[in-house]
């Protein structure tokens, strides 16, 4: 029964190994990938249902008791994010065969795809800080391989920068774990939380907290550590960009959410209040980046930064509404960013360029694509009744309860500019005169995964009444670290 917690990690791992053997047989790989991702999605949905009905699943791997062995914790937050990861993975599995060429597919794309999912699911489910580092490396290693897959000049150049910045922050992560180990003498998160509580978070622990925040903020592309992100996210194949945009930065933000709601919660005015400033600056700089460019892929990549800002603002405000909003926005953003990257990848494919100044009037040839972009711009900006609205509403409500007026104004203003930055693609790229010389390329297979993802976004928005109680459960759970500690350490 408790072995269910390890299945979201083990299944993609085994799938990846199997697909490494079939790498030359493209048709077999494609269908196997699709079947395995759908199977995994079904299984994770079942586990999610169990977690929400019967409580968290705790797995002590190898039968070692809590602080001594590695613990996998499938609590409501972790399993919700694993479910979202699998939704994104399913959409990407169906999109991949259309956007990749045979050469890229036969060079182990599907194996690395599954290893990436393994790392992401593992990072969400683990209850051990060093194990989190290892899963970070698992997903980063897969991402290094995916970012350079194809081996173009630009890809090679950008991947070096990507590998270097991630290597640097990983080393910092190890150092931070070493410092934390020297102070509290354990690497199990629940046990660390218990011991930090006992000494009431002394000065040295706050220093380590800030170091950990910088590590995760680098992974999550938060201001001022986002400079590596936009360029490296646009160079790989669109499906890889979509996986990165939806999953990688979100693992960093999940780690911040976990560490600063479980372990370091006793000096709120030192740590969490600073988060609000980082959030505001991320919104400003992210949106400036998105408005400054006419590369459609870069516009979407820059839009990740304000979204990260919104989530970190929820963590900074740290009350019931803001935490619900942060979790809601996290789930919403994973889905919509994946959809937007896939859409923009399709647009760049049909237009033959990603420079917005070089094409217009696409709506005459691709009406479906145009309206999908229109709807996703609305979802991203948070126009009711779509999913972005509920998350932002809760976040702003939470911030207003704590009288954080400046961040509320910034949030509203940046939402407006986010809408403008995506609408710019619609207005300049889709409207305009019909270009008679345009050669229409078939988009069969490109649209399906996007519609699948947008359907989830619409359900998240319209069905908020059914989903909100679960999100509320998660935020209640996050605000009370005792529940996590007690369930892991069995006191």
């Amino acid at each position: 029964m408790s072995n269910l917690a390890v299945l979201p990690i083990i299944i993609p791992l085994i799938s990846g190994i199997i697909l490494a053997f079939f790498h030359k047989k493209v048709t077999v790989s494609r269908w196997l990938t699709r079947i395995l991702t759908i199977g995994n999605l079904g299984l994770v949905s079942y586990i999610t249902w169990i977690v929400f009905n019967e409580g968290s699943i705790i797995l002590e791997t190898g039968g070692w008791e809590a602080p001594y062995g590695i613990i996998l914790v499938a609590d409501p937050l972790a399993i919700t994010l694993v479910l979202t990861t699998n939704i994104v993975a399913t959409a990407c599995a169906f999109y991949a065969s259309h956007s990749m060429n045979i050469k890229e597919e036969t060079h182990y794309f599907y194996a690395f795809f599954f290893f990436l999912i393994t790392g992401v699911s593992g990072a969400f489910l683990t209850g051990d800080l060093f194990n989190l580092f290892v899963f970070f490396e698992v997903l980063l290693m897969a991402s290094y391989a995916l970012i350079v897959l194809g081996g173009g000049k630009v890809q090679l150049r950008e991947s070096i920068k990507y590998v270097l910045i991630n290597l640097f922050s990983s080393v910092l992560f190890v150092t931070a774990v070493a410092f934390l180990y020297s102070v509290v003498g354990t690497v199990n998160m629940a046990h660390i939380a218990e011991r930090v509580q006992e000494v009431d978070q002394k000065g040295i622990l706050t220093t380590i907290a800030v170091l950990l925040f910088f590590v995760f903020a680098t992974k999550a592309a938060l201001f001022p550590l986002y400079y590596w992100m936009p360029k490296s996210y646009i160079v790989p194949n669109p499906v890889v960009s979509a996986l990165f945009g939806a999953l990688l930065t979100k693992v960093g933000i999940y780690s911040i959410l976990r560490v600063f709601s479980l372990i370091f919660v006793y000096k709120l005015d030192l740590t969490h209040h600073a988060f609000i400033w980082f959030a505001g600056l991320s919104m400003i700089f992210g949106i400036i980046g998105a408005l400054s460019t006419s590369n459609i892929k870069l516009i979407v990549a820059y839009n990740i930064i304000p979204a990260i800002g919104f989530i970190i603002m929820g963590i900074g405000v740290f009350n019931q509404d803001a935490m619900s909003g942060a979790v809601y926005y996290l789930v919403h953003d994973m889905i919509i960013k994946c959809a937007l990257f896939l859409l923009v990848g399709t647009i760049a494919y049909v237009a033959g360029t990603s420079d917005l100044r070089k094409f217009s009037g696409l709506i005459h040839y691709y009406p479906v694509l145009g309206w999908l972009l229109f709807v996703s711009a609305f979802i991203l900006a948070g126009v009711p009744p779509f999913s972005g609205f509920i998350g932002k509403l809760l976040l702003l409500k939470g911030a207003l309860t704590n009288d954080e007026i400046v961040i509320v104004v910034l949030g509203l203003l940046s939402s407006l500019l986010i809408l403008y930055s995506i609408m710019k693609i619609f207005i300049q790229g889709f409207w305009g005169e019909k270009d008679e010389s345009f050669v229409k390329k078939p988009t069969k297979g490109f649209v399906g995964p996007v519609v699948f993802l947008l359907a989830f976004s619409v359900i998240l928005g319209i069905g908020a009444e059914f989903i909100y109680p679960s999100i509320d459960t998660i935020s209640t759970y996050l605000l009370d670290p005792e529940v996590y500690i007690d369930s892991v350490l069995k006191e």
Binding site: M141, I160, L167, F168, V174, T175, A178, Y181, T353
Partner: protein, 115 residues
């Protein structure tokens, strides 16, 4: 002893960061290697450096205080393997990049907006 090793790790970090800020790619890679050496030394030091036996039990457990802490050693071993993997990947990546872009100067690998 901990203080001396901490200073050594600090020197390694300083040298590493100086190398990371250079233009030549190979120097940057040397910087990353030095950086991971520093981090591994830090893990070892933070576990405590005491004059005790290596953590190998020969005939059952007698007086657990006689042994050094085994956990940091396991953490370092994991971390060494991971950074070894990344370093080898980075070296191959650099080799390919230099071949394709015909330069090893990071300043010339900056790139443009629309590619």
């Amino acid at each position: 002893m901990e203080i001396i090793i901490s200073i050594l790790a600090g020197i390694l970090f300083a040298t590493a960061i100086y190398n990371l800020l250079q233009k030549q790619i190979l120097r940057i890679i040397i910087g990353t290697v030095l950086l991971s050496h520093g981090a591994h030394l830090f893990i070892l030091t933070m576990g405590g450096l005491k004059d005790r036996k290596p953590p190998i039990l020969i005939d059952g457990i007698h007086e657990i205080e006689k042994y050094v802490d085994p956990l940091p050693q396991a953490l370092i071993l994991t971390s060494i393997v991971i950074s070894f993997g990344i370093t080898s990947l980075l070296l191959v990546l650099t080799y390919r990049t230099i071949n394709e872009n015909k330069t090893d100067d990071m300043a010339q690998l900056r790139g443009e907006e629309n590619e």
